[in-house]
């Protein structure tokens, strides 16, 4: 199976404090991988390093075998990394459709001016089609013309997923998609995630505190604590491991 995303010995410091310590992990094509660890473990930081929001001090990030460590965020995104945010990040003053259209268009930058003149700024037919597909996939049909300020948190999280799907990513980084959702919403989200992943076939790296969601969705997991990768393997094994207990109970780290 081919590796889509890999980090090789990635380290990150914040004014001398080590947030990531030589983290090496791999995600294969179409695979669903978990990244678990207690608060402050460095999970979001790793996402930011993978996408280039934060520069890494040491190590490389590879996408489809290509070293992308020095590329800016938007290039990495166009090459096939999608992500959602722990604290939801939507475009204020825009409708659901606007979110999808711009995500689609940013990845197909040709002839923008000509198209704009032809359509007077309205979405093009293929954009309407692609966004309708994604909305239907996520069960958001009917909300296309809603301003995002009217969405519930759960719908907002789905919209983040929808937005990233419009860029046709090879791998999607999901940062705590269930945070802020109640049990019912989380269950619905899990179902939706399974469905769209099966349909589109992208790989997923999932950060999640909801053990149930991680166990049901991922096949393999990495355990991160204080920036160290403690263990990895099939998700049930990681969940049952002594390292896991140590990390979450806050006893001394077993290296």
């Amino acid at each position: 199976m081919s590796t889509v995303l890999a980090t090789r010995g990635v380290s990150k410091y914040f004014s001398g404090i080590m947030a990531l310590d030589r983290v090496t992990l791999e995600v294969n094509a179409g695979e669903r991988v978990g990244l678990i660890g207690p608060n402050g473990a460095g999970k979001t930081t790793l996402f930011n390093c993978i996408l280039g929001v934060l520069p890494v001090e040491v190590g490389e990030v590879e996408l489809n075998g290509e070293d992308i460590t020095s590329l800016p965020v938007h290039h990495r995104a166009r090459k096939g990394i999608g992500r959602t945010f722990q604290q939801i990040e939507l475009f204020a003053d825009s409708t659901v459709r606007d979110h999808l259209v711009i995500a689609y268009r940013a990845n197909r930058p040709r002839w923008a001016v000509v198209h704009d003149l032809l359509t007077l700024g309205r979405p093009r037919p293929e954009e309407m089609e692609a966004s309708d597909d994604v909305l239907e996939l996520l069960g958001l049909q009917g909300l296309a013309d809603e301003p995002v300020e009217r969405l519930s948190l759960g719908q907002g999280r789905l919209l983040e997923v929808a937005r990233t799907l419009m860029t046709n990513p090879d791998v999607v980084l999901l940062d705590e998609p269930s945070s802020g959702l109640d049990r019912r919403e989380t269950a619905a989200l899990a179902e939706t995630l399974v469905e769209i992943q099966a349909e589109r076939g992208f790989a997923v790296l999932l950060v999640e505190h909801d053990i149930e969601l991680v166990s049901s969705f991922t096949t393999r997991s990495y355990l991160l604590d204080f920036g160290h990768l403690l263990t990895s393997g099939p998700t049930e094994e990681v969940m049952a491991s002594p390292e896991m207990r140590a990390a979450y109970l806050g006893t001394a780290v077993v290296a």
């Binding site: 995104a77 939507l90 475009f91 003053d93 711009i102 923008a112």
Partner: protein, 687 residues
């Protein structure tokens, strides 16, 4: 050998000469950093505060006959801190959670309002020919020469010593007094302090009073260096101080002090040695003539562009930056206005033009033409600030590029002026794009400062070059265009032409903002990180916005000078005025093209219609019926619009959208009431 000795002597002389102004720059820089760090407000009005104290000092000393010491006590020790306290209490305290750009706009508003307000309130009108003086008698003429190289004037000595004492005093205050310790703690980490139970309100008010005291002190001390009582001089001083503070990334007091002193010395060194070099290197001559005034702007620009990590300096130095309350969300205002509404606006506008076209006399036609041209310039602010979310303070320079292009190509080279307008637009677009490429890593406040530096550089250096500014006589012979048989020498015809150009530009802005780049810019404004992670390149979108904005400003500038028949750089395009443009546009709504157009109408017509009271002449039928307290001083427009920005900060969507939103809210409320009544009726209970 002799040469070497004289070089060394000159060197020391220059260094000593640079110390007195340097210490005063340092004072301003320190005061500036104090407010920036304690309240997060990038206080452009700092120079205006210094000016206010200086004016009060001269009023008391010269006109009230107070003598310099009581006058200094009143203006520096009492008035200045009070002013700072007042600003914090009445304005900036309420803007804690406002987006940084709106506090910036408010401080710009105060920058234009305070000098006019103080001048009017104090009825300050210095006798022509009189110039500011210092706190000691014969300050300019009596000199002392302690080192045998440079004779300090009394004023300079006083300024240096007082400034050094003030800085030492500040250090002692921070070190030894509880208030100072608290303030220092806030300066180092405002949020930490708040968590420790210290009231940030009180500390911040204290810091504002203290920094305002520094402003007042600097204002009075530096006055004798100037020959006129001009608020502009103080604005310039503040730009120098910003450069000094930028050396320390705006947050370090010692660096601000060193930066101020260093700038004073560098300026003196350059002015000593550059003339000497130009004897050998003739090509340095034209540079020499303009280099001195431009040093601060070059330094400022250089610091912003070349000091790495400047952008990150602020957010990441505070480990608790993430726990800020969420920024207030700018109300959703670009409503899908609908074609009906747009058509209505267009009809209104055309109606107004038709009335002017058929009814107005020449003066009014020209005035309205100016407003139309101004509307084109203001559309450039709609693009760069309203859509791209960047504060550009060099739109005046872009407009001036258009104006000078018309002059150089149309008047000097004899090209058609309309072609010249387009070429000028292209040049300005290129300049703007290049400028924004240099700044592409930066956003927010740094773009504002860098564009300000560019505006001043343009003003101090480029305008004076003969291939740009030319000579002032010839600048007043700009011809009008002729197309086929239509001669635009006729003012009404030219008005129509200007309206057509404005309409085309407004349509362009509308399409741009709905098009791909507009969508990208809106996404970036909504969430920069999310926009980047779907593949949007922030710098490309912003470069495009800057280029379009430069183009529009230049086209407007070109149309303006063709309409007037001359390039009046000093009254139309200087940096200070351009700052005022931003304020006016922001007041009327920076997010829709209509805001820019209404703003332009107000900007141009305000003086004639309101300040001169002509509107009463119309209403009461007859010039003689204009009430006698008109005309009001033109300064009132600075005061009104400047203070208007405070209202903006609370309603960032602008006056036009605000009233629209109120209407909407009212009708929604009515609808809601109706629902309540209906459901009450359904339940069978009396409403």
């Amino acid at each position: 050998m002799i040469l070497a000795v004289s070089v060394v002597t000159d060197f020391f002389q220059a260094v000593l000469q640079g110390v007195p102004p340097g210490t005063v720059y340092a004072l301003v820089a320190i005061g500036f950093v104090l407010t920036y760090k304690t309240s997060g407000v990038f206080n452009f009005a700092f120079g205006a505060q210094a000016f206010a104290s200086m004016v009060l000092f001269h009023k008391a000393a010269d006109e009230w006959g107070w003598g310099t010491v009581p006058a200094a006590i009143l203006s520096v020790l009492i008035f200045a801190p009070l002013l700072g306290f007042l600003l914090e209490w009445a304005v900036f305290r309420h803007l804690r959670t406002a987006p940084p750009l709106s506090t910036l706009v408010v401080s710009l508003g105060l920058t234009v309002a305070i000098p006019s307000l103080v001048t009017i309130l104090l009825d300050f009108s210095p006798k022509s020919g009189s110039s500011p003086h210092g706190v000691v008698p014969d300050g300019r003429t009596v000199r002392y020469d302690p080192f045998g190289v440079y004779p300090f004037s009394r004023d300079e000595l006083v300024a240096t010593i007082v400034a050094i004492v003030a800085v030492l005093g500040l250090a002692a205050l921070f070190r030894f007094t509880p208030v100072g310790l608290m303030m220092k703690a806030v300066v180092e980490s405002p949020r930490m302090t708040e968590l420790n139970g210290i009231s940030a309100d009180r500390v911040s008010a204290g810091a504002w009073a203290l920094s305002s005291f520094f402003a007042g002190l600097a204002g009075v001390l530096i006055a004798p260096r100037f020959t006129t009582f001009s608020a502009n001089e103080y604005f310039n001083i503040m730009v120098i101080a910003i450069a000094a503070a930028a050396v320390g990334k705006l947050v370090s007091l010692p660096w601000a002090f060193g930066g101020g002193l260093g700038l004073g010395v560098v300026i003196a060194l350059v002015s000593t040695f550059l003339p000497r070099w130009t004897d050998e290197f003739a090509w340095l001559k034209p540079v020499q003539e303009n280099v001195l005034p431009s040093i601060p702007f070059v330094v400022l620009f250089g610091v912003i562009v070349f000091v790495p990590g400047l952008r990150k300096a602020i957010g990441s130095s505070d480990p608790l930056a993430g726990v800020d309350p969420p920024r207030q969300n700018v109300a959703s205002v670009i409503t899908s206005a609908g074609w009906m509404f747009l058509a209505l606006k267009a009809v209104l506008l055309l109606g107004a033009v038709a009335v002017v076209y058929t009814q107005a006399d020449r003066t009014w036609t020209l005035l309205v033409t100016q407003a139309v041209a101004m509307g084109i310039i203001f559309l450039s602010i709609t693009i760069i600030t309203g859509l791209a979310g960047q504060i550009s303070l060099c739109q005046g320079a872009f407009a001036a590029i258009g104006a000078f292009a018309v002059y150089q190509l149309g008047e000097v080279r004899g090209m058609s002026v309309l072609v010249a307008v387009v070429i000028g637009g292209a040049i300005a677009a290129a300049v703007a794009a290049a400028l924004s490429l240099t700044l592409r890593q930066l956003t927010g406040i740094w773009v504002a400062i860098a564009t300000l530096a560019f505006a001043f550089f343009f003003d101090a250096v480029l305008v004076k070059q003969s291939w740009i500014g030319g000579d002032s006589l010839a600048r007043s012979r700009i011809p009008r265009p002729v197309i086929g048989t239509i001669d635009f020498q006729d003012d009404s015809n030219f008005l129509l032409l200007a309206v057509i150009v404005l309409a085309v530009c407004a349509l362009g802005v509308y399409l741009f903002s709905r098009g791909t780049t507009g969508r990208k810019l809106r996404a970036l404004g909504g969430s920069e990180i999310a926009a980047r992670s779907v593949g949007i390149s922030p710098s490309r979108a912003r470069v495009a916005a800057f280029a379009l904005s430069g183009f529009l400003a230049a086209v407007g500038g070109g149309m303006l000078v063709i309409g007037q028949g001359s390039v009046n750089y000093g009254t139309s395009f200087v940096p200070f005025l351009a700052l005022f443009w931003l304020i006016v546009v922001v007041t009327f709504g920076v997010r829709q093209p209509s805001g820019a157009i209404v703003a332009a109408a107000f900007f141009i017509l305000f003086e004639s219609v309101f300040l001169k009271g002509e509107i009463f002449g119309w209403i009461l039928r007859g010039e003689d019926n204009i009430p006698s307290f008109f005309p009001l001083a033109p300064d009132w427009r600075y005061i009104l619009f400047g203070l208007g920005t405070i209202q903006y900060a609370r309603h960032p969507e602008g006056v036009l959208a605000m009233s629209a939103a109120k209407r909407r809210a009212r009708s929604e409320r009515r609808a809601a009431d109706k629902v309540v009544v209906d459901s009450a009726a359904e339940l069978g209970t009396p409403a």
